[in-house]
Amino acid sequence: MLGRFAPGVCTQVTMVVNQQQNRNMATLKAISIRLKSVKNIQKITQSMKMVSAAKYTRAERDLKAARPYGEGASQFYEKAEVSAPEDEPKQLYIAITSDRGLCGAVHTGVSKVIRNRLSEPDADNIRVICVGDKSRGILQRLYGKHIITVANEIGRLPPTFLDAAKLANAVMNSGYDFGSGKIIYNKFRSVVSYSQADLPVFSKKAIESAPKLAVYDSLDSDVLQSYMEFSLASMLFYALKEGACSEQSSRMTAMDNASKNAGEMIDKLTLTFNRTRQAVITRELIEIISGAAALN
């Protein structure tokens, strides 16, 4: 009977030992799986950083070339002292963002400026054009009624003047007769800093009634119309370029931080992994030694 009994006890004991070992093995395994996934994430964020660094250098070079477009156009409004017409309360806000995330607070910053404006009491006369899916996503739920145009497929490639021209056409053909407006975009300052800025947009009527328009020579209505169309396109172009540049630089820092954080996590996980492994080994040693001692 005893002989029959013994194998059963034996299997029970080994099962318990197996379970205990399994539990330790499981945590060890869980940690190593996690460690592996964090390492993979770090690799991804690092390569994303490299990609955006390359895109950023290009965007910055492009931005230098695009700057005169925007500055020239806004200088005209400044020199002619164009101001928003008081009898036309309709305003247009254009949010310049892009479709892609993982780049810090670039898109939220722009959307926040517009959201703050829309939460003011006289917001009924404001309409918004969202350039890029991100601003649409943020503004859609609360202020969907204010959105008249959405443009997407932005941010995959650097913006071209043709993109800006298409946008300008959309602004002009949207059927919304605004008196004045603003283009809200991220102005690039340096690799680590950008801030929200705006460019003015005016209706033709507002420009015609500007007090200092006479400083410009030989202007007739036709020239003014053409210039207005062109300046809208070039300001949009400039804003798109500034936005793209700050987005890439911001993505670069965001991905750099992500890689750094992943590195920290890897360090901590390796430490706990090694500690657990040590603990398992120590416990096994204790078991063996105490087992040997019990035999004596």
Binding site: G144, K145, L162, D163, K166, S174, D177, D222, S226, E229
Partner: protein, 66 residues
Amino acid sequence: MSTWRMAGLNYVNYSNIAAKTLRKTLKSEFREDALRRDQTFIKIFFWMNGNQLGLGEKLKTDKEKT
């Protein structure tokens, strides 16, 4: 009034057509680079009351409404 405006173009369209023609006349070593600037992928949708309108549809102007 200029002829292109009478044809229903605005200045942006007009100058884009001119730019396109100019790009085509460039020497082949410069043309490739210039043609890269000649593409656009941006898509535009008009919205009304928080809903997207179909492609080609757009807001009615005040004049059309009355």
